[in-house]
Symmetry: C2
Subunit: 369 residues, 2 copies
């Protein structure tokens, strides 16, 4: 039978508990669809800092385990305990940025979904999103101002100046646009490219390349929005978007805004994809919930496991090619929601709902597989 290798990095906060449940779901689809995974469990984030005497949130063994895997299943990292460490070794920055760069994970896919039955959880008025919404945000993840050089500070004319460089190569823009156009082809065929071409030279190039790549995808309707306008439209008419593509920093801001507007951060998975594997349509990738480690509710058994479980589905689809298993998980999640199962973050208190904790929600999902 088919065997795959995955690195499992649960991390901090609610990470370990939702990871446990996501792996139960993985077990279930493995038996059902006849494949298996070798799971290399490693420390990351605060857990790794604690184990290494604050040396690093990303130990060499962890990187090695990822290198020897087909994909990384990531939980979440960070918490108050490590907040005052130097930025470079803080759990989020010190683990996420190096992982992205080391594995060339340039394409961050972040679905922003508000199910029609969960519009009450969105901060946006229900009448603005009568049918919920389903947006895919494609964020460039290894370029731009995150990694551009020079970056640093120096003394000029007797005072400190600090600088960062927002920089894009044509090829970097080209490849992320192709990921976005391909995604749009498989969805509603509408792509919005977000930039600040009225101010930034890097955005002028971004827009040029977007218009060029568009010629290879004549069926997709491409439009452009300035980032300030995009931030406005996401609040007012999130359901008018299909796929949105943008550079690293704008994607950081807009995908979080979109996630908050969806109202169910606890349900949103994400994929960070690198190149395709040799001779295959599959990507090496890292999969993780869009939300954070939620230290305030960690250990209570009440976290919503769905974001982590749907991250497993994305991993199965994009990195392992186990599409049937991915479909089965996604259907089982929808079914559990349709049956009224709700963790605290998405509950209204309505009589038709069954309010559950982490493991009961997972049981409800397992029942549908």
């Amino acid at each position: 039978s088919r065997t795959h290798r995955i690195a499992v990095l649960a991390g901090d906060g609610i990470g370990p508990e939702v990871m446990t449940d996501a792996l139960r779901v993985l077990d279930a689809v493995e038996s059902k669809f006849g494949f298996s995974t070798e799971r290399n469990v490693q420390l990351v984030g605060g857990a790794a800092l604690d184990a290494t005497n604050n040396e690093t949130p990303l130990p060499a063994e962890t990187i090695a385990a990822c290198e020897n895997s087909d994909a990384i299943l990531f939980g979440s990292v960070g918490g108050p305990k490590w907040e005052n460490l130097p930025p470079d070794i803080q759990p989020e920055r010190g683990a996420l940025l190096p992982l992205r760069k080391h594995f060339g994970l340039f394409a961050n896919l972040r679905p922003g979904v508000c199910l029609p039955s969960l519009t009450h959880a969105s901060p946006v008025k229900n009448e603005l999103i009568p049918n919920g919404f389903d947006v895919l945000c494609v964020r460039e993840l290894t370029g731009g101002v995150y990694f551009g050089s020079p970056k640093g500070r120096e003394e000029r004319d007797g005072e400190t100046v600090a600088f960062d460089t927002m920089i894009y190569k044509r090829s970097e823009i080209d490849r992320i646009l192709r990921v976005a156009f391909t995604a749009a082809m498989g969805r509603g065929k509408k792509l919005v490219s977000v930039d600040k071409a009225n101010v930034l030279a890097s955005s002028v190039l971004w827009r040029e390349v977007a218009n060029e790549v568009a010629k290879d995808y004549p069926e997709v309707e491409l439009s452009h929005l300035y980032v300030d306008n995009a931030a406005m439209q996401l609040c007012r008419r999130p359901d008018s978007f299909d796929v949105l593509v943008t550079e690293n920093l704008f994607g950081d801001i807009l995908s979080d805004e979109m996630a908050m507007i969806s109202g169910s951060l606890g349900m949103l998975p994400s994929a960070s994809l690198g190149g395709k594997k040799e001779g295959s349509e599959l990507y090496f990738g890292m999969y993780e919930p869009s939300g954070g480690s939620a230290p305030d509710i960690a250990g209570q058994g009440i976290a919503n496991p769905i974001a982590q479980i749907l991250s497993v589905a994305m991993l199965l689809r994009f990195s392992l090619g186990e599409n049937d298993a991915a479909d089965a998980i996604e259907k089982a999640v929808s079914a559990a929601i349709d049956k009224g199962f709700r963790t605290g973050d998405i509950a209204t208190g309505a009589a038709t709902e069954k309010k559950v904790g982490t493991s009961e929600m997972t049981d409800a999902i397992l029942a549908g597989i």
Copy 2:
């Protein structure tokens, strides 16, 4: 009697019609409070492009008029007619950025107000903002990635790369933080500084300077938010903010998001302040509505004039020192809203409302002066 000089730049779209009405309100407070203004009316934006055969949206006469004034009252610029011109001479970019730079207008004050009686117009659920909200966004306006150099493109290793530089001097951060702290002292004494210090060197300096300047304002409670988190919190709990301060690009994005969330873009003025005038507490400044030129409704007499009228109030307060006149305008606007007067953008259709056009709204405001 006191005489002041102002440059009046109505611009495009709804600019001219709301400017006409704002000047009627200025006339009224002049007679009532015994001062006068010399008004130097000039072209800007698309109107200037049309008059100069597409040479410039900011003619030399316009700049000269501003130089000879105590303040600039600005309408709005832009529209489909000029959208395909080269970026450098487009109405928005080609007029706004040079005006900001030429006059050193480093402090952009953008109130994001949702009156308790207008929460229906916000895209955010009313139960999240039962009492509306009142946030002041202080945006740095002449630094950062907007003006940093190098900016441009070149060939490297056989392909085009394009770059912008996000750069801040300590003194630039210091002065905008002082504006924000001072504003916070006059309000709720809560200041949130927004940065991306987990990624950007310029943000690390920003945060350091913010913490230092805070020592001079011990009564103000300073906190820090990452920009991605700020974009989320503005959607979910806008009423938890008092004053927000941030750098140019983040301010562009967040102040627009905040304006949209307030639901009444047509009511929001803004001030862009330069240095204080010699031996005075008054600033040279430019005052304009936060919304755009709304070409779709221009010429129909239905635009909400309140943003332009409240821009006059800000001008009177910050640049002319006519505080009683400013207060009178702000009170008259509130009174007109309380009496039920509503332009289309803020109307619900409720029986208690009086739906009016631009000039009737202005008449209602004049009645309160």
